[in-house]
């Protein structure tokens, strides 16, 4: 069992409200493929009208979860509800749910207009033409209505896939890696576009992605998934600033994790001993209860680099800042907006530091002796029973 902390995965949604009229509720949702458990007892409430992201590496079960909501996969155990309606075993075409497929899956023999009208026609909706025209305008596809999918660019196909789904005004819109096939520039543009459309139509969007930047840009709430379970759930900033697991700390952005032993627990502040024996402060609320060994974490951009003091003191803390005085720069790369350093601590660990180039600051060179400092409030602590590398290689492998 993976140790988990800091999240309560009962039926409380991102807004903290128990299921309202149109909320999507997953209860103990489990999917097994033979001996392999793809989704492991998922409990989740997604508030109506929110932009929710399921973030995780490939194989974490996020797409299987999506396919179960769409009805393309049957859960082994569990229940799916939208508001008061249970849809767990309903056929896909009986659910008020539409999907934007990863490969778009546009009907190649139908024009853009016919693709978009497909769902409305199946439901014998009135005023198909005007609804289609409205959505084509929203997605800026008016001029392309009579083209076939093969005559469109990747970005245009993506918009057709989106238009084809949102025209039905589903209770829940599912997006399966919708921007994965686009190049970086177009992807950024579509992120903004998707967010705008979501705000405009007010539908519940459930967005599956392995791209943490994409999830943070668009979603109101992110659930970080790993090995069929939710590691952590919360608003993007909350997840980033206060990761609850090493996996979340490494998968969302980058983290420095230093092995430490709890020295003192006080209601207002706690201190932990770093490998060199020096004590640094951690807000006591962030210290996992009842354990002695922790990973002390700090994000690379939260660390400041200073010229080294004369004396090689051990680590310490004063005036709301933690300090690591005796360190050596081993690598410096100038990136334009920032300089990225690798700095070796006295206990031979390399920490990553991103220093903003505000001008005026010294740029250190490899070999320079420096001291590091970071605010106590930017320091977090995780149970040391976890793998400090969790989520790193996955993120890199996926780019």
């Amino acid at each position: 069992m993976r140790p988990r902390r800091g999240q309560d995965s009962s039926n409380t949604g991102p807004t903290g409200v128990a299921s309202a009229s149109g909320d999507l509720v997953l209860s103990s949702l489990t999917k097994r493929f033979g001996p392999f458990t793809a989704v492991d007892g998922l409990d989740l409430t997604i508030a109506q009208g929110s932009f929710f992201a399921l973030l995780g590496p490939s194989g974490c079960g996020k797409t299987t979860t999506l396919r179960m909501i769409a009805g393309l996969e049957q859960p082994t155990v569990g229940e799916i509800r939208i508001g008061e309606h249970e849809i767990t075993y309903d056929k896909p075409y009986r659910r008020p749910v539409n999907t934007v497929f990863q490969s778009y899956a546009l009907f190649p023999h139908l024009s853009v207009r016919e693709n978009v009208a497909f769902g409305l026609k199946r439901r014998r909706s009135d005023s198909v033409a005007s609804q289609v025209a409205e959505v084509l305008e929203l997605t800026e596809l008016q001029g392309l209505a009579d083209r076939k999918p093969a005559q469109l660019s990747g970005g245009q196909q993506q918009r057709v896939a989106l238009a084809r789904a949102i025209v039905n005004k589903p209770a829940v819109l599912l997006l399966d890696e919708p921007l994965g096939a686009l190049d970086l520039k177009l992807r950024r543009q579509m992120q903004v576009e998707l967010k705008r459309i979501q705000t405009e139509v007010g539908l519940t969007f459930v967005h599956v992605t392995h791209d943490q930047e994409e999830a943070m840009t668009m979603a109101d709430t992110i659930a970080v998934m790993n090995a069929g379970r939710i590691e952590q759930l919360g608003a993007p900033a909350e997840l980033y600033e206060l990761p609850a697991t090493t996996f979340a700390a490494n998968f969302l952005g980058q983290s420095n994790l230093i092995r430490a032993t709890v020295a003192q627990r006080q209601p207002d502040a706690a201190t932990v001993a770093l490998p060199d024996g020096g004590l640094v402060a951690v807000p006591s609320g962030r210290l996992p209860a009842g354990i002695a060994e922790v990973w002390v974490g700090v994000r690379p951009e939260k660390i400041s680099v200073h010229e080294a003091a004369d004396r090689a003191d051990p680590a310490g803390h004063t005036a709301g800042r933690n300090r690591i005085p005796a360190a050596v720069v081993t690598d410096a790369s100038f990136m334009g907006v920032s300089t990225q350093y690798l700095v070796r601590t006295p206990w031979q660990q390399e920490l990553m530091v991103f220093e903003q180039n505000r001008g005026g600051a010294t740029i250190f060179r490899p070999g320079d002796r420096v001291s590091l400092s970071f605010a106590t409030e930017h320091t977090f602590a995780l149970d040391a029973g976890q793998d400090a590398e969790a989520g790193i290689e996955l993120d890199e492998a996926l780019g």
Binding site: L72, P92, Y93, T99, F101, S103, F107, H109, R122, R123
Partner: protein, 288 residues
């Protein structure tokens, strides 16, 4: 290896003489060799057809249409003048149409079953479907004859039809199956996601996308049936002479010019069909 490539000692002359203004005959030939070969291949392919067309306008002396005598429209104006020919042509067309319809229907369903489902006996069915294509026609024809005779089924149109459906089926299954295999299953999932039930998904998405494969299978089946001589000959009676049998029989007694008329008509129809198809495809892709 220390050879340097693309570098010459300074001042050395280039190894090759600069291209001459005058192009030698060899250069011209070398640059156009693809066209020359293509033209020769076309001549090789089309010359027999041109001879057929040419001799449909012949007025032969005697019963054999083998030497050019003089131009005449007689055969074109009286295509059914050759005794028995139009009857055999109509029989071939009827058998062709019925065999095509039955083989296409059955074959499409079999193709879907084989491509989409895992069931007991699937591998065996796959093998059996291939068998008629691999069996020499003489063997197939004689085996069928043995079967029909031993079962006491009188030879005639029905036996010809059964035989034709059997071998056409294989070609339809293979053609349609290839098309289904190339079909993205996510399209059907997308249709289901967009409120189409099973039948609507099949009718609106699957069938239109597989249709080119079905059409190709049907055309193949028709041409195979229309053209078959060997299997047909084994399983026909004197009252069921198909067009290929008629032509074969006529070759012994004399060849009426009308055979060339039918041949020319078939050729022109086929070329027209292909040309129309190409034209439609080009217009569709140029539409925007």
């Amino acid at each position: 290896m220390t050879t340097t490539v693309g570098q010459r000692p300074a001042g050395a002359k280039p190894a090759t003489i600069p291209a001459r203004r005058r192009r030698s005959a060899w250069t011209v030939l070398r640059e156009n060799v693809v066209w020359v070969v293509a033209a020769l291949a076309l001549v090789y392919l089309l010359l027999p057809n041109l001879v057929v067309v040419l001799f449909s306008f012949n007025k032969p002396n005697g019963r054999f249409n083998y030497t050019w005598q003089r131009f005449s429209l007689d055969a074109w104006l009286h295509p059914c003048a050759a005794p028995g020919m139009c009857e055999s042509l109509s029989l071939s067309l009827k058998i062709g149409v019925v065999a095509t319809v039955v083989a296409t229907l059955l074959g499409t369903m079999i193709a879907f079953a084989l491509a989409r489902y895992r069931f007991h006996g699937r591998a065996g069915s796959n093998l059996l479907i291939f068998l008629p294509m691999a069996t020499p026609e003489v063997v197939m024809g004689s085996s069928l004859l043995t079967l029909f005779v031993s079962m006491g089924i009188p030879l005639g149109r029905v036996t010809i039809l059964i035989a034709h459906i059997m071998f056409c089926l294989s070609y339809v299954v293979v053609t349609v199956k290839a098309r289904i295999a190339g079909l993205d299953p996510r399209l059907e999932q997308a249709a289901a996601d967009l409120y189409a039930n099973e039948w609507q998904t099949f009718r609106r998405i699957t069938l239109p996308l597989v249709a080119p494969g079905i059409a190709a299978g049907a055309l193949l089946a028709f041409s195979l049936s229309f053209d078959d001589y060997i299997v047909t000959n084994f399983n026909a009676s004197n009252a069921s002479i198909t067009f290929p049998m008629y032509v074969w029989g006529a070759a012994a007694r004399g060849t009426p010019v009308q055979i060339n008329v039918i041949g020319t008509a078939m050729f022109v129809l086929a070329v027209l069909a292909v040309a129309l198809g190409q034209l439609a495809g080009r217009r569709r892709s140029r539409a925007h």
